[in-house]
Structures are given as structure tokens and as C-alpha cells.
Symmetry: C2
């Protein structure tokens, strides 16, 4: 039996575009992992009538998850609106109020001029909850709620706070409650798979899907989503365990048609693959147009200090000479954005940091600085394995604005490393 | 007269959390700038029945803007569903088909093994549009549409492609069309203001709002949204031009209560302020735990190459010594994460790059590496104005995971620079 869920993300700051929502996508992934089909994510401001309309829109779902609107300010109204939606009166939970106050007292030391009265006034409302709701203990100061339907009819509503670092652990608590399990357990668990490709346009994948279907593979049993992300193409598939043979045939078809482009079948990202291929070998970076993003991407991973020695951001020509030993004559002869300088940067990174593997990047991220010969988006990259005496060089022409060129460049470099080390 | 809009973001990859939506927030900001109130953003997968349900939910709006679902693959169905919703039959626009094909031929050189037939098959559907719609010329390969209500009743639907770099320029084209202007011109233009504060908890702002209202300021005429973002607190306000005196009184109240914390009243970000305060003076970075993010943030801005000389990412102790002249004895005596080493990094950045202003950062981003004395989130920062002989040092304890600690650290550093240079 299919279990459907809707997600309601509240907050005028999210609706108005001031802040990007991270909760909707995160919750959607968690629900799908549990075999629950997400019908809609609705983002709504802090007006009660609009929040109520969003809940009513989703009334035919089995489960509604809300995020946000549980704070101490007057525009935080989710608990009230959910109570009314579920037909449950609001009641003050005195014990909960004391627990919230205890948390606030601990936090108070961090802030100046924050009185006990201000705390009480602002936070009593957080202890007023719909009758019969299961309370989820606060991670920050806001409690969450599981609000069951009144007469076994209508959706269960899971009410979570807005800050992701409160919402995410509270989700884990929520799945342990009897009230939420009553809904979750009605869903089977679906399988999820991810294929990642690099260097293939989305329309070519569309043709491959048609061809694979024409070969008799039951694609109708697979929910396949293709998505371009950071210069890669991801094919995410969700299916009932009984459709595993169809998935295997589908994956084989993609493998056969895109052998050179398919780089990951087990969910591993290019970042993870490169970390694995390095296998502890020390790496260093000398980068210009990416301005630190390449080193930042390598060091995103916990534990990367074990193999990332560091990097130099050499924006100026002088810095390229001083920090990466690029001969000034080379810059003079070929220009700062040239394959020769990229190679010298990679070598310089290796030599200066005593690294085994080096990355050199130089390019024109824009919006200014482009020429007819080297337009904005031109990036020269070089990766070198000093110990093995191997090197790969590429000059690419990347689309998009400054931010996109910088970001895409780091993806190109990682795929070059995969080629070099693989 | 109030004009209301709804936004429908389509795409299973967005609904399922594989990719974060950027279009909903962006469109919301554009609509609000034009005095249009956004009621809901609905994110929906590629199922026609769910897309139709989202449109029906928003039928009482004056305008619906959709993004996505205009591509060549079979799961791209938005035009069809919108045509049915508006009661308009779908017709092939032969001239449009030829224009799309011409674009595809130009792009083809970029991809291997991509046949003319594959192009035609995949892309004819993009030229089938609701009768009576205004066509917006493709930015990528997908045309957009303005679909007016059939009998002057019901919403106008603006249909835009999913990739932000196609959607954003097409929005600009769309606002020039007669069909869209018919709706947009019914709205007045609202004023928008932004206050930015640093170092103040959200609940304290809630108390200030209550106090300002108690002083007789007509806050009911202002739509005020508070939002924590990257360690700062933003107060965004939208109001009818006639409410300008109320806004001025409100801003004065915030200024009075939070003089030390309010750093921006004109919408300028801390990044912009620091760039302005540098006023062309050269800056350089020596960073450890941020791993390149500090340099990357400084170089995010177009034209930053005029004053950012570069940086060193000195993850290892050896690199701290070799690239930033941190005395090994200093690391030995105080540990790599210490105010002394941060100050030496800032000095080293200045000296090595011959910069006037230097930033030094060393800390424990986690998840490992914390101790009882220096837990995860401990970061030591130092900023120095070498020419003026001034320096600011801070040690902070930042909350959150590795990514958040790294990001917040860059915000702390920028506010220190504002203090140093201001």
C-alpha cells in the first residue's frame, strides 16, 4: 500500500527568498528512504490562513511534516494552526515549560542583556501544545510534536522546528515514537540507486532511456530522475525491491552506452572517489581563478587533513612566482592563463608542499578579463602525480557566471585527478 | 489592490531532495520587488496529476509562475499540463521548432555522438505550446510561455525553464510582454529595506519589536521578517510607500537598542562593506581550518583581483612554518590552534604577500580533533593592518557541524576586518 506525505515549510524568510530552504529536500530524502512517496513540498509564509490552506491542500495525504514556526516570536504559529487543523484544543504543558526554561537559562550566558522575564514571555508559548500530541524534546529550545488524527481519519502531522540542526536530530527522535511509527510502518521500504556520469548531455540520456525501454527493459517499474548537478549528470532511481531485475537491466544498458562517462554506480561522489584513489598520498593545490575553492572542496571532507597538505591562492602574477615557482618568463611568454602556467602551478604545488600529487588552476572566471582569444570561462588545469611522473592537462571553456565557472572548475579538476590516479 | 502570486517548481529531482531549488526563492524576490504578494511556493514532482493539483491549489491567485519541466525528456510535461489547466489546446509552432533546431545544431559541436535524429525527436515537443500563449524565446533550448486566462477569468500562468541561468534572463524578457504586464501593472510597487545585525540572538530582537510597538510605532503597517543567516541576523521589511514614516521610526528603534550590533542599514552585506573599507588596500590570507574558504569568500566578488593578492592554505604544521613563517617553536609551545599561531599566520600572510592587511585563521572544524580544553568549534582568528600597526584577535567557540564551523568562521573574520578597518 502506498503511503503519501506532504511537507509544509513555513517562514516568510524562506517564502520571500531571503534564506534558502534546506528542510524540504532533507525531509523528502528521509521519507523516500522509508518508502513514502512525497507528493508536494509547500513553502508558505507566517500567515495562519496561508499555513492552514497548505495543510488543507495536503489533507488527503497520510502524513504531513511541517518545519518552522515554533520559535518564541509572535509570527511563530505552526503549533496553533496544526492544532486547529487536527481539531485539537491547545493546552499548556507546565512540565514542558519548565524544561524549556532550564535550557534557556543554560544558554543565557552566551548573550548580553537578556532578562529572565524576556525569556519567560517569549517562550511560554512554546509549551502550549495540541491536546493528545506526542512531545519531541527540544534540541534547541523548541519542542516538536507528533499530532495524530482525531478519529483515525486524516493525516498524522509531524511538527518540527526550522533550524536544520534542530530538525535533523529531532526527526530521528520522531521515528522512534509510537504515533509516527503508526504511519511509517504502513510503507514498504523502497530501494534507491544512483548512477553518476560526467561529460554527457541530458538529451543524450533521454535517448538512451528510450532505447533501453525499446530493448524490453521494464522502466515503468522504476522511478528514474535525471538531474544535472555541478557539471555532472545524476540518474537517481527508486524502485520496489521486486523490480531489482529491471533496475539491473537498466544499469547494464547505461553502462554499455556510456562506458566512458559513467563514473559511479554505488552512490560515491567524485570527491569520495578521489579521496579513495589518493589512498593517503599527500596533495597540494596552486590555484588562481578558483580563489581557494579547490582547496576548500578537498578539505570539506572530515579527516582530509591526513592527506591535504594545503594550497596557495595565487591571484597576482607576483604570487604565482613567489609561492608556486612559476617562472616570470613563462607568464610573460604565454600569459597567466595558459596551459604552461597551469602545469607550472601544479609542479610548484608539489615541490613547495613536498606533495606527491599537485593541482594547478588558472583561468578567467569573469565577468571581466575575457578576450576574444581567451573568453570568460576559459580555464587551464593541470594535475600531476610527481612520484609516478604522470601528468594530465586540460583547457576548458565553461558556461555560466563567475560563481558557476569557479564551481565547475573544481569538478573538472576532480575528474582529471580520477583519470590521473585511477 | 493586492495582487497575489503562487510559484510552482516542478521536477522530481527537486522534490526528492537530489538538487536544491534556487528558482522558487529567486522568483519570490522578483515578485515582491514588484509589489506582488507571494502566497505559496509548491514543489512538485514530474507527475501530471500532481502538477495539475498544484495549479488548482493556486487557482485563486492572479498569477502562477512555474519553473521546470520544459526539457526534451518524456518527464517534462509542464506545457501540456498548463495548457489543460488554462483550457487551451496544444498546437505545434513550426517556426519555433526551426528556431530550437538551429540552437541545437550550434550546441552539437560540444557533444560526441549526438545525432540530428536524436535532436529532432527529443526536441519537437518543446515547440508544442498552448494556443494563444505568448512565446518567450529560448535562452537554452526551451522556450518559455505566458499563458493568459481563457475568458479573463483565472490566473495568468508564466511558464519558465528550470535551469536558473535560463530562467533568470527569461524572466526579464517576460516582464516586457503585454500578456504579463496586464497582471504585473495591477500591483503597486512596495518598498523593501534590510537591516543586518551581528552578535544578537533572535529572541532579543523579538523583545525589541514588542518594545518598539509599545512605543507607538505602527508595526502593523510593516511586513517584518527576521532571519538568522550565516551567523548574522537579517531584518527584512516590506511596506507600502505610505508607511515610510512607520519604517523610519522602526529603524530608529532598532538603531537605538542595538547600536553595537547593527552593521548595515542600506542592504550592504559584510562582504561589500569589507571590500569598501579596504578601498584598494591589498589583502592576503593564511588559513588552516577554513581550508581555502576564506580566500574563496574574498574572491567571490567580481574585481576582487584588484585587492586580493592571494592566500595560503596551511593545513599541516610544516606548511604553517614554510608558507606563513610561523615559528615552529610557537606551534610547539601553544599548539597549532592558539591565538599566538593565528597572529603569526596573519603577520605571515602580510609579509609573504607584501599585503597591507592580513588574516590568520586556525581552528578545529571537526568532527575529530577536539579536546576538553579546545573542543570542536574552537577557532582562533587574527586580523592585522600592517601599515597602521593595528591588530584584532579573537578566539570563538562556534556551534554546528564541520561545514557550519568553516562557514561561520569566514563571517567572524569579515566582522573583525570591519572593526579593524572601520
Amino acid at each position: 500500500m502506498s503511503v503519501r506525505a506532504g511537507i509544509v515549510v513555513t517562514g516568510t524568510e524562506v517564502l520571500s527568498g531571503i534564506v534558502a530552504d534546506r528542510n524540504g529536500p532533507w525531509l523528502s530524502e528521509r521519507l523516500r528512504e522509508r518508502g513514502i512517496e512525497v507528493a508536494h513540498i509547500v513553502i508558505v509564509g507566517d500567515r495562519p490562513v496561508d499555513v492552514r490552506a497548505a495543510l488543507e491542500f495536503l489533507r488527503s495525504c497520510d502524513l504531513i511534516v511541517t518545519s518552522g514556526g515554533l520559535g518564541p516570536t509572535a509570527d511563530d504559529l505552526t503549533a496553533d494552526v496544526v492544532g486547529a487543523f487536527a481539531g485539537r484544543p491547545m493546552v499548556l504543558d507546565g512540565a514542558l515549560e519548565e524544561r524549556i526554561l532550564a535550557i534557556l537559562r543554560r544558554n543565557r550566558a552566551r548573550w548580553r542583556s537578556y532578562s529572565e522575564e524576556a525569556m519567560r514571555a517569549g517562550n511560554r508559548k512554546q509549551a502550549i501544545v495540541p491536546e493528545g500530541a506526542t512531545i519531541l524534546e527540544p534540541v534547541g529550545t523548541a519542542p516538536g510534536l507528533v499530532v495524530p488524527p482525531r478519529a483515525g481519519d486524516g493525516p498524522t502531522v509531524l511538527v518540527l522546528p526550522g533550524p536544520p540542526r534542530e530538525l535533523q536530530p529531532m526527526w530521528e527522535d520522531a521515528v522512534g515514537t509510537t504515533a509516527l511509527r503508526a504511519v511509517l510502518d504502513r510503507a514498504g521500504v523502497l530501494e534507491q540507486r544512483m548512477l553518476r556520469l560526467y561529460g554527457v548531455p541530458e538529451s543524450e540520456i533521454a535517448q538512451s532511456l528510450l532505447a533501453i525501454e525499446a530493448d524490453g527493459v521494464a522502466l515503468d517499474r522504476l522511478e528514474i530522475t535525471t538531474c544535472l548537478r555541478r557539471g555532472e549528470l545524476e540518474i537517481a532511481t527508486v524502485f520496489d525491491p521486486s523490480a531489482a531485475p529491471a533496475y539491473d537491466a537498466f544499469a547494464a544498458g547505461i553502462r554499455e552506452r556510456h562506458a566512458d562517462q559513467l563514473f559511479s554506480e554505488d552512490g560515491a561522489t567524485i570527491d569520495e572517489q578521489v579521496a579513495g584513489l589518493l589512498d593517503g598520498r599527500a596533495i597540494a593545490v596552486a590555484e588562481s581563478c578558483t580563489g581557494g575553492l579547490m582547496a576548500a572542496r578537498l578539505t570539506e571532507r572530515a579527516g582530509s587533513s591526513a592527506y591535504v597538505l594545503g594550497g596557495v591562492v595565487v591571484y597576482s602574477d607576483e604570487a604565482k612566482v613567489a609561492f608556486a615557482d612559476v617562472p616570470a618568463a613563462l607568464i610573460e611568454a604565454h600569459g597567466a592563463v595558459s596551459p604552461e602556467v597551469a602545469a607550472a602551478l601544479a609542479d610548484g604545488a608539489c615541490a613547495r608542499f613536498a606533495a606527491e600529487v599537485g593541482i594547478g588552476i588558472t583561468g578567467i572566471a569573469g565577468p571581466g578579463g575575457g578576450t576574444a582569444e581567451k573568453p570568460v570561462g576559459t580555464v587551464c588545469l593541470s594535475v600531476v602525480d610527481a612520484a609516478a611522473g604522470r601528468r594530465l592537462d586540460r583547457t576548458v571553456q565553461l558556461p555560466g557566471d563567475r560563481a558557476m565557472v569557479r564551481d565547475r572548475t573544481t569538478t573538472v579538476a576532480l575528474h582529471m585527478l580520477r583519470g590521473l590516479l585511477g
